[in-house]
């Protein structure tokens, strides 16, 4: 294999993982912007989506139905969690709430361990066929599903924020919570909406990636952390930043793993996180808003 086709291969697989990181990062950014919380349980939403889907497929549900049901289930679970664990601690400081989400993440993982055990589950790809060859690189159909789903979800998210009234209200809440309240926009309702929406994004990410990576009870931990790195890379408050951060992280990781050693794959992500936090805490793609006082 020539170097060029090898590089293309790394970029393609990087974009596949990067798309997943982008979706997870988007969840971090939406929740952080609306509530000020960094939700470390975001990765568990991904795991739950994949696990519910595996279970539903296991009992004989067709793939499309399993996808829809799993998304709804994860949204309900997260809605209950927001209601029970986050809202009841509304008066606590953001740091306390962040620690609550770490606790939630551990708890969800523990429950998943009890329910689904430690064995990895395999999920069949959504469509048969492939792999396809592009310029010396190969790509499996499921990767195309991942990239396509990511693109559609990102477009939907951006559409929601740019063109729908609810999206605008959510942004108003992100920009200026105080003024939003004065207009009658309820922060607690927006917080619930942000959590449930991020849950749906995470769950879908988990389902499309499942056929590529296997499904395990603890898959959310690493995906959540990577998504966090991507969000930080993008500045933690910008939605386009999260997307670019996710894709960039996926590609860098894949290139690093391919060109250096696959053992460094996770290390590279966290070195990037440390570098960003040391050198450019606002994020590489972080944009500073205009504000006149």
């Amino acid at each position: 294999m020539s170097l060029a086709s090898e590089l293309l291969q790394y970029v393609l697989s990087g974009l596949t993982m990067g798309g997943i990181y982008a979706l997870v990062a988007l969840g971090f950014v939406i929740i952080h912007n609306v509530t000020g919380i960094i939700n470390f349980a975001q990765g568990e939403f991904v795991m739950l989506g994949a696990m519910f889907m595996v279970t539903l497929i296991g009992v004989g549900a067709p793939t499309p139905l399993a996808i829809i049901l799993s998304v709804i289930l994860v949204m309900i679970v997260v809605g209950i969690i927001e209601f029970g664990a986050i809202r009841s601690a509304k008066k606590a400081s953001p740091v306390t709430l962040v620690i609550i989400t770490i606790g939630l993440s551990t708890a969800i993982r523990g429950i998943a361990l009890l329910v689904w055990g430690t064995n990895p589950y395999k999920l069949a790809p959504f469509t048969k066929g492939g792999p396809y060859h592009i310029g010396g690189a190969t790509i499996v159909p499921q990767s195309l599903w991942v990239i396509g789903t990511t693109a559609v979800l990102l477009a939907l998210t951006l559409f929601m924020f740019e063109y729908t009234y609810w999206g605008k209200a959510l942004r108003a809440c992100m920009v200026n919570k105080f003024a939003a309240r004065l207009m009658g926009i309820s922060p607690s309702r927006m917080s619930l909406f942000a959590f449930v929406f991020s849950a749906a994004l995470g769950a879908l990410a988990g389902m499309v990636i499942a056929p590529i990576t296997y499904v395990t009870y603890d898959m959310g931990l690493m995906l959540g952390l990577k998504g966090f790195v991507a969000a930080v890379l993008g500045g933690l408050s910008s939605t386009p930043g999260a997307v670019i951060g996710g894709l960039a992280l996926g590609v860098i990781e894949s290139l690093g793993a391919g060109l250096l050693s696959s053992g460094y794959k996770d290390g590279i992500s966290f070195i990037i996180l440390l570098l960003v936090l040391f050198l450019k805490p606002g994020g590489i793609f972080g944009t500073s808003g205009t504000k006149r006082v």
């Binding site: 209200a169 920009v175 003024a179 004065l182 207009m183 006149r292």
Partner: protein, 240 residues
Amino acid sequence: MLKVVQLDTYHGRIRVLKNISLHVEKGEIVTIVGANGAGKSTLLGTIAGVYKPKSGRIFLGTKQTSCLPAEKVVKDGIILVPERREVFDSLSVLDNLRLGAFHRYYTDKKTIEGDIEKILALFPPLAGREKQLAGTLSGGEQQMLAIGRGLMANPKVLLLDEPSLGLAPLVVKEIFEILLSLRKQGTTILMVEQNAKAALKVADRAYILERGVISHAGMARELLQDSRVQSAYLGARLHA
């Protein structure tokens, strides 16, 4: 229209408002003037549901308002245009106005675009700049947008917190003239101001707030002539 009865508000253990009673009649501009830290913003914030009063009641018409939280008080018909304007700076002028109507957006959808036209006619500097981001407007324009956004809620009473803050005298004049034309249309306004002179000139009646207590109340014109008020708030020297 708006009636506040024996209001007490605390920030932590500090009693900021002490037994405040006041009333605003329909179509009036009433101003509350006072020095920094007198409790002016706390008073408006309490009426708007941002702070919880320890005791006292607030009536709108004959109905007692919800008092808390702010997002419900809007529905009662009270809107606060906050100090420092607090526009949604990364959203467009048009979106800011639309979001002002949030509490009635789904019930009143048809009238909203028409209302936006009315607001733009009221604030000519905003017209034609609907797509511009609110954060890129000048201070005066942002203040106009903040008032316009407040009016979009179709309030029974408009609460203005320091509308002149940080603005050039000419802009202050422009904004206060708009307040007068709002009154002609029947809008009821309760306004807090440090710029006592400008406020007393446009207002019908005024209250003077000193360390959480209303020390004077009366017709704005009379207070403007009152020598004690002049020396304390209007910069006139008694023995000059």
